[in-house]
Subunit: 157 residues, 2 copies
């Protein structure tokens, strides 16, 4: 039941985020949420790249979109960067695709697999900090989505 | 281990929030995070009231500060509302106190107790939606903290 509950939390968080992103049109994707703050396109790219990184961290396969990191993780947003409408559509598809891959993976795990270390923590560190398991990583990443959702709702419609 | 991991996530989230609130001085508590958005004092009062409501929801006792709801849950923020410095100090203490009561309670639970329904869900609904347990409630409330932390970091220092 712990597993069913965290799976439900993960899926609800993704669903809420997808619904929040879906309410904006292409023009709004290129607007800053508030003056000087990230644009909507940056938040979607950032969350997609971070979730893509979860695939190898959780032993669920290779990354699908490693090219996103340069624009959406290692660089801050650049509001002067133009984007084609097609890029927004592509990003939306990638967001869906990476979360489907993750959710399908999580659904297969046994309790033991949920409690294994994730690959960014060494065996030595994991022995000292056993809460750095896959379960903890999934909760943290869901919290990271909520963090940015709190910002996204501040875009004036 | 599921329990240790969620407890760690809960405690880290509260610690991060407390550190974030602690970085602002009294004058900043009365400033809107951004024009037209909630003030820092409102976010702290809101989170304190919501966590205070968790006590009866989780069967951990009576509420400590039910009077907070009128200002911080059922009303939107009113930036013209003055606040004494002493009110800010009181709110900070209440935030610590309510989270200590919650965390001490969570630490005592067995796995069965974590998976019991919380008191806002009826037995009939719980039979259909068993993820509406105390464990799910704690994850959701931690995510709610992260949601508002994402907003709080946008206050210009």
């Amino acid at each position: 039941m712990f597993i069913e509950t965290i799976l439900h939390h993960w899926e609800q968080t993704i669903k809420r985020a997808t619904a929040a992103f879906d309410q904006y049109d292409d023009e709004e994707y290129l607007k800053q949420i508030l003056p000087g703050k990230n644009r909507v396109i940056y938040l979607l790219g950032h969350l997609t790249a971070v979730h893509d990184r979860m695939l190898p961290l959780l032993g669920l396969g290779e990354r699908k979109f490693p090219h996103l990191d340069a624009t959406y993780i290692t660089s801050p947003d650049n509001p002067d960067l133009a984007a084609e409408t097609s890029e927004i559509a592509t990003l939306k598809k990638q967001w869906i695709e990476v979360n489907e891959a993750l959710t399908n993976g999580l659904r297969q795990w046994t309790a033991e697999e949920w409690l294994q270390r994730h690959t960014a923590v060494s065996e030595a560190d994991f022995a000292k900090e056993p809460h750095r398991n896959r379960f903890g990583l999934v909760i943290n990443r869901a919290a990271h989505v909520s963090y940015h959702l709190g910002q996204l709702v501040w875009l004036k419609k």
